[in-house]
Symmetry: C2
Subunit: 584 residues, 2 copies
């Protein structure tokens, strides 16, 4: 299933030419289609001939096998131009089973999360797992592991490792260069990584929110080709004017697409592609994947051909994917039959000419093999209840204020209750304890913080998904439940857990690096939905925050304003650690 147009020989070429010439029958003919050509901007009725994984032509071909397209619209397989598969909490295999039936046939994956946990072993796991799904998974090597110097990740991918790996054929380039400051300020190690990519003629993905003017020029000339972090039409225009590709994002947290489309027109759309970046399984199940981006684009008035080009050929051109992205002779037979060009519901999906999905169901089995190299990733120094005390010299403190429906937090100045020199949860205020516990190398580092507006009562919630270093993050209103949550996560080898009144209510076990399940996406999604409900209903988590995602981003010290890592409270605006006590 994974054949590519890489090693050609005369015998093989001969057969392809003969079939295309009509001299011998095709493997497959998909008849009765309305074939969409986003380049010529036409829809034409006809049949698609397929041989040896390639489209050999549109026309009156004979096939050993004939499939009725039922008048559906045939579009080239959709491409997610930038995704962290780990955000689906599924392995690439399980992810393939989820998104292929929606029409996605190729993704450009940046395994930033698993690499933060397990480095090269994480990358290898993702590559191996992706061999067991027909979904074509191409890789970018994460450029920023660890994401910042203020974190304790499980692994480091330094410039030497990058240089070693980046030449591999399945690796398309260097993943999103989040350290734009490092680039602009010419950090030697950052430039070494970039240089390796340039000299191997590989793509460099960007991540340059808010950059503009000369800073954006400086970032761009380093070799960065793409950006998926635009949140305003102006940012889109600014990047397109600099010869960059803009990857229009519609993820679970960052829903930028509709807003960005204002900047996209029939002229510049050739340098735009579609991506999801981070998308949760329940969101994909409910709304779709790249077909959802298409639906939004068309709904917002984008020319349907431009929209389809953004989801197919433009991404293929950007990432130099060979023979990919069009329904035309010589292209790989990655084909989706959509029922219409409005809702983009896939009737059938083909990859390399094989039927791989029908009516929303995958036609291939899900194996989901787990690899020891990425399991047993929770390695902590034993935590006792005394570790959970938060000593305070004064009662005026910094508190992480959760913002409604946002990953940003607010730095709050609050007066809290102190008992025996330590913070104590008080019934008058919704201020609870939060801990980030280093869990890769058992260093015993514990970052402590207080959060407001999480709402949790009579329990604790813990997770080993904590961007980007994925330490344990846990919050609760009492130490017993917090401790139980930590122990449960340790026993499960990572996951998400709910504890109430001293008892574990439910745990989603994430044995792969503590961030991915070994189940299928539907089971994960179902469990997540149920646990979310429990968190709100039984643990009283505020209805205007996501009980899990909110926690997962509290340790990421690049999003405003107050965060916490195993090393302590971090003020993102000051870009430095700060004490909990408020200075006068």
């Amino acid at each position: 299933m994974k054949a590519y147009h890489i090693c050609m020989n005369v015998r093989k070429l001969k057969k392809i030419i003969e079939v295309a010439g009509g001299k011998s029958p095709a493997d497959l003919v998909i008849r009765n289609c309305r074939i969409v050509d986003p380049i010529s901007q036409t829809v034409s009725e006809g049949s698609i001939g397929v041989y040896d994984g390639f489209i050999i032509g549109i026309g009156d071909y004979e096939g050993k096998r004939v499939v009725d397209g039922e008048g559906c619209f045939a579009v080239a397989g959709l491409i997610d131009s930038h995704v962290h598969i780990e955000s689906s909490m599924c392995t690439p295999e399980a992810y393939g089973s989820l998104v292929v039936p929606m029409g996605t046939t190729c993704v450009i994956a940046d395994p930033h999360e698993i690499c933060n946990v397990r480095g090269v072993s994480g990358l290898r796991f993702m590559m191996n797992s992706s061999e067991r799904t027909p979904l074509k998974v191409k890789f970018m090597i994460p450029s920023c592991v660890p994401a910042t110097e203020f974190e304790d990740s499980g692994a480091v991918l330094d410039s030497e490792k990058i240089e070693e790996l980046i030449g591999e054929p399945k690796i398309l380039g260097l993943g999103e260069m989040m350290n734009s400051t490092g680039v602009i300020n010419c950090n030697e190690e950052v430039l070494e990584k970039i240089t390796s990519a340039i000299n191997k003629s590989k793509i460099i993905d960007g991540h340059g929110p808010m950059l503009k003017g000369k800073s954006l020029n400086a970032y761009r000339v380093s070799g960065v080709l793409t950006d998926h972090e635009c949140s305003t039409p102006e940012e889109v225009r600014d990047r397109l004017k600099r010869g960059m590709y803009v990857l229009l994002r519609e993820g679970s947290a960052a829903r930028n697409l509709a807003n960005l489309l204002e900047a996209v027109n029939d002229g510049n759309s050739r340098r735009c592609a579609m991506c999801s970046d981070d998308k949760h399984p329940e969101d994909i199940i409910a709304n779709g994947h790249i077909n959802h981006n298409l639906k939004i684009a068309v709904r917002e008035g984008v020319n349907v051909f431009s929209a389809i080009a953004m989801a197919t050929i433009n991404a293929a051109e950007c990432y130099k994917l060979k023979n990919t992205g069009l329904i035309a002779p010589g292209y790989m037979a990655d084909i989706v039959l959509f029922k219409d060009l409005k809702d983009f519901e896939a009737k059938m999906v083909f990859i390399n000419g094989e039927p791989v999905a029908k009516d929303g169901k995958a036609l291939f089995p899900l194996v989901n093999r787990v690899d020891k190299a990425v399991t047993h990733s929770v390695n902590i120094k034993p935590v006792t209840s005394s570790d959970l005390k938060i000593p305070l010299k004064k009662d005026m403190v910094r508190v992480i204020g959760l913002d409604k429906y946002s990953l940003n937090t607010v730095l709050q100045k609050r007066k809290v209750k102190i008992v025996q020199g330590c913070f104590e949860v008080s019934p008058e205020a919704d201020i609870k304890k939060l801990f980030v516990i280093e869990r890769h190398n058992a260093t015993g580092k514990i970052g402590k913080a207080l959060i407001e507006n999480y709402g949790i009562r009579n329990g604790a919630i813990g997770t080993t998904i904590a961007h980007d270093s994925h330490n344990i993050i846990v919050s609760g209103d009492n130490d017993r439940d917090i401790l139980a949550a930590i122990r449960e996560l340790e026993n499960a080898g990572g996951g998400i857990t709910l504890v109430k009144d001293g008892t574990v209510i439910e745990t989603l076990s994430l044995p792969i690096g503590g961030i991915m399940s070994d189940m299928d996406a539907f089971s994960v999604s179902k469990k997540m939905e149920r646990m979310k409900k429990t968190a709100h209903e039984e643990l009283n988590v505020s209805t205007d925050v996501d009980p899990f995602m909110t926690l997962s981003f509290l340790a990421l010290p690049v999003i405003p304003s107050l965060k916490v890592t195993p090393r302590g409270l971090f003020d993102v605006d000051k870009f430095d650690f700060v004490p909990m006590e408020w200075e006068e």
Copy 2:
């Protein structure tokens, strides 16, 4: 001048980033420009900063050197996506001096002609010569040397040679695959050549006039990406629908552009590029080069941004030219300042950030070094007057009828005068002798024919430019002058010669392979213009034929209808040799 973004190091990258960030001055700032962005489809006033051959940004930069753009339109350097430089009768160096001042900064050259004469030495000469001009010359290896099996070329580039050469970095791929029949019929040797290109990830240029339907599919699936031989809008559409690039041609003989533009729209134009294919020096001097294509396109109503994209970024994308084709940070500083976007007259040209032309004049010297490996290419067995006799068994014969202003010929059935068993020129009819003399390996092969409508009287005209094998081709109304022309060509080591009444009137010497001059383009053009005038006025060549180009195509056995090679008369419709005498 020839620096490319190939070997990057941290020190160099650092400097580029610093300059782009405004922390240290640019090498050059071109201020007061109207910068054209064919992707964003905008024209914006501003300054372009350049450092180390790259554009580092558009904006308020300080430069060690400042050039006033005088309000001109700044466009990325123009790209000729398919050219046989030899058709200019100039070396790449001289060609560079001619076209760079017109705004061309890069050409994709297929040295098909010189390789037919001298094989790999011809290719090497072209590559070496191109190092001595700032014009960026990228090469395709000719795929069809010899062009047909009915010709006697000076060299053969077989599949083994192609395999040996195609991996070289300056070689972008396999040149126009003229043997479309060979492809479609799966000729082993042809497929070997194609396979080499595919396996080295190289481009394959097509040449598929009139192909359609399944034949075109078969041709396309072989890996052919481009076609520059379209002569109808339908052919353009057919190829674009097959995921191919169409190179829109405006040459000296084939002036297809205006006609083809009907098929080009804002959607599909991204897969179109501009080319000249074959263009004579006098034509380039009179009308321009790719800037002429732009002028025609805009005149014909093509959106100016689409037109510019076709002449720049589209070609760069098609041929995978790195960092080429836009005025944006990170792109090579190949920039043309046009006075307007209507006539596209270049005010200034920059290549890799260096000013290379101003007001139509090159700012660099022309060296024009000749290489022994490509000179002395006329090697014939001595020809005597008895060789020029045309014995005929009967007086009803096949005659090559010249068609007005066309490269096609007409097969004419004519009754001619026979004296002592041989053809004799008769004053009643304009039927003259024509000889094609093998001139590479002194085989003594002489093809004989009769031509009608050439008009020549009291003399002979000979040339060593005879597509595609470039043997000697000579026509005249008397043997003495024909013999003198042959001798002159032999002595000159190739060229074009006019003989009248036993005396050589003028010869354009073409010492390089018998097809290229060692002079500059302006001298060649002037001489050609004068000799053309002489041919018409003093040798009486019909005013409705080009005295030289007509001869040059009479030995090419792929253009209808009757041609002649050193092996004899060739009926292109029958695709076989035929006797001169008409069968009953």
